[in-house]
């Protein structure tokens, strides 16, 4: 069976791979036999191989070198381009993070191929589904030139285990000067959170301008914690200084696609919907019965968030015991 290269996103904590990798491995199986590609610092593949085997990687190409971590993006694209030329895979599948998209773009130029970004599904004939214009349009597209490259949108494919041999093969890393152009001098974590990562969470609770202050965001955090959810925010809430930008959901923030999305004090502007419209179940709390968010909501409460949210938090906590 044809080989499909899948770029691995390692967990920054050093524990295994990100969920996006398992999603990419699952999506890749439609096209052939997944071969995982780990590009990282020395020893980084060791923590990943067990999980890669569990999710169907027949092979694991291990490209480890100090230098890979010292420069931005380009080294990973270079390793993938080398593998595409050596192994002639049927396709390349990459998780759709900002870094993943840049890698896909660079790889496309290096290999003279077309690429499709943010696909939500890949079919056996190579056609892929993309969601355009704030989720309003569903598009089916196909790469017509070269080795097709796909980036898979987070939370759109359900990871399914499948046995894989995960046979390791070392890949020598020899970076060109071009791949050493932009140095990563430091990686700074400003917000440490015990909550799940926004784009990976199965439940997201977001607050908007209606929350009315930074202090009052504790209501949103309380509800989120009762559900084991991630916290999000609208741009109006971020611009008003209620919550950090990292948590913005929407067109110019994160795109989330959880099982449950709870929008509190958010009107539902098209640019906000762009980031959450594909959530499975949507719940809204808003005091304005005409708020557009209710058009999307499976369940809506017209009411004051200052009373509804604490009561809901209390009831959920009680139920969960």
């Amino acid at each position: 069976m044809a080989e499909v290269l899948v770029l691995v996103e390692l967990n920054p904590t050093g524990e295994g791979v990100r969920k996006t990798t398992l999603e990419a491995l699952t999506a890749a199986r439609a096209l052939g036999e997944p071969a995982a590609v780990v590009v990282g610092g020395p020893g980084s593949a060791a923590a990943a191989t067990a999980q890669l085997a569990e999710y169907g990687a027949a092979k694991v190409y291990v490209a480890e070198s100090e230098e890979v971590e010292q420069f931005l993006v380009a080294p990973k694209a270079e390793v993938l381009a080398q593998l595409v030329s050596d192994k002639q895979p049927a396709a390349v599948v990459i998780p759709s993070s900002p870094e993943g998209k840049e890698i896909a773009g660079r790889l496309a130029i290096k290999t003279g191929s077309g690429f499709l970004t943010d696909v939500t599904e890949i079919a056996g004939d190579g056609t892929a589904t993309q969601v355009a214009f704030a989720g309003a349009t569903i598009v089916h597209s196909k790469v017509t030139v070269g080795t097709p490259i796909y980036t898979v949108r987070g939370n759109s494919v359900t990871p399914e285990p499948a046995p894989g041999a995960a046979e390791e093969e070392q890949v020598a890393v020899q970076l060109s000067d071009a791949a050493r152009a932009t140095r990563v001098v430091d990686r700074v974590v400003e917000q440490k959170s015990s909550r799940p990562e926004l784009t990976e969470a199965s439940i997201v609770v977001s607050g908007g301008r209606g929350v009315a202050s930074a202090e009052n965001f504790s209501l949103i955090e309380g509800l989120a914690d009762s559900l084991g959810a991630a916290v999000g925010a609208s741009r109006a809430a971020v611009d008003s200084g209620y919550y950090p930008h990292t948590f913005q959901v929407g067109q110019t923030g994160k795109t989330v696609s959880p099982q449950l999305y709870i929008a509190v004090g958010i009107s539902g502007a098209i640019q906000h919907r762009a980031g959450m419209q594909t959530s499975k179940t949507i719940v809204a709390v808003n005091k304005d019965p005409e708020a557009p968010i209710f058009e999307l909501a499976d369940f809506g409460v017209v009411g004051d968030l200052n009373t509804v949210v604490p009561q809901a938090t209390e009831a959920i906590t009680a139920r969960r015991g």
């Binding site: 349009t137 017509t144 430091d186 067109q251 098209i270 019965p289 409460v301 139920r319």
Partner: protein, 259 residues
Amino acid sequence: MDIVVLVKQVPDSGSERSLDPADNTVARGSADNVVNEIDEYAIEEALLLKEAHGGEVTVLTVGPESAADAIRKALSMGADKAVHVVDGAIHGACAPQTSAILAAALQQLSFDIVLCGAESTDGQLAVMPALLAERLNLPLLSGARKLTVEGGMARVERQTDGGYWALEAPLPAIVSTWDTINEPRYPSFKGIMAAKKKPVTKLSLADLGIDPATVGLAMATSQVLEFAGRPPKGAGVKVTDEGDGASKLVDFLAGQKIV
């Protein structure tokens, strides 16, 4: 310091947008066209660099005739001149083709730094800066929330989940910006009047040495086969809180097996 800013005209993200059923390309007639919002931040950053270091700001756009409006906006904010690549053959181009056109135009310009948005609001690919870096063999500092230029080096804080990465690269370089980097200025009346007299150079594919037969929908590296509107969601339940809103909400979640 000479700066080129890449500016794309897009259908307003606040209006209903669609593809054109005739050839599955973006329907640019049905919505208001505006400057890609994030590109305004790149323009502002270019103007700030010019104010600090001197030099000239050139706007570069690939797009149909109507994109002249986007160029005017950038010039009225304070950019000095513009290059507009317009050619019927470009219609329906894929990202790799668009990058080849932008790269060819950049090779005709002199610059220390190329600024652009991190992502457009229509295609939302967030790849153009990487494609250009690859084609032009230039360093890319992408996703900037902060930029400083000093002693021939660009330094950027790249916005990440929960923090940033500090990046550095020698000039000339490409820098893409997010909307966290600054607050774009509004064009002043004086700026709007001055923009009318600023030079805009129009270039065709032939001017860039590109064979029009190699570009456009028919030659694209990927193709949209079909599209459809997302199926409308069935009407949900809406309750008005009369003291029991929260408990009804929790009942709903319980019904969904969430709590």
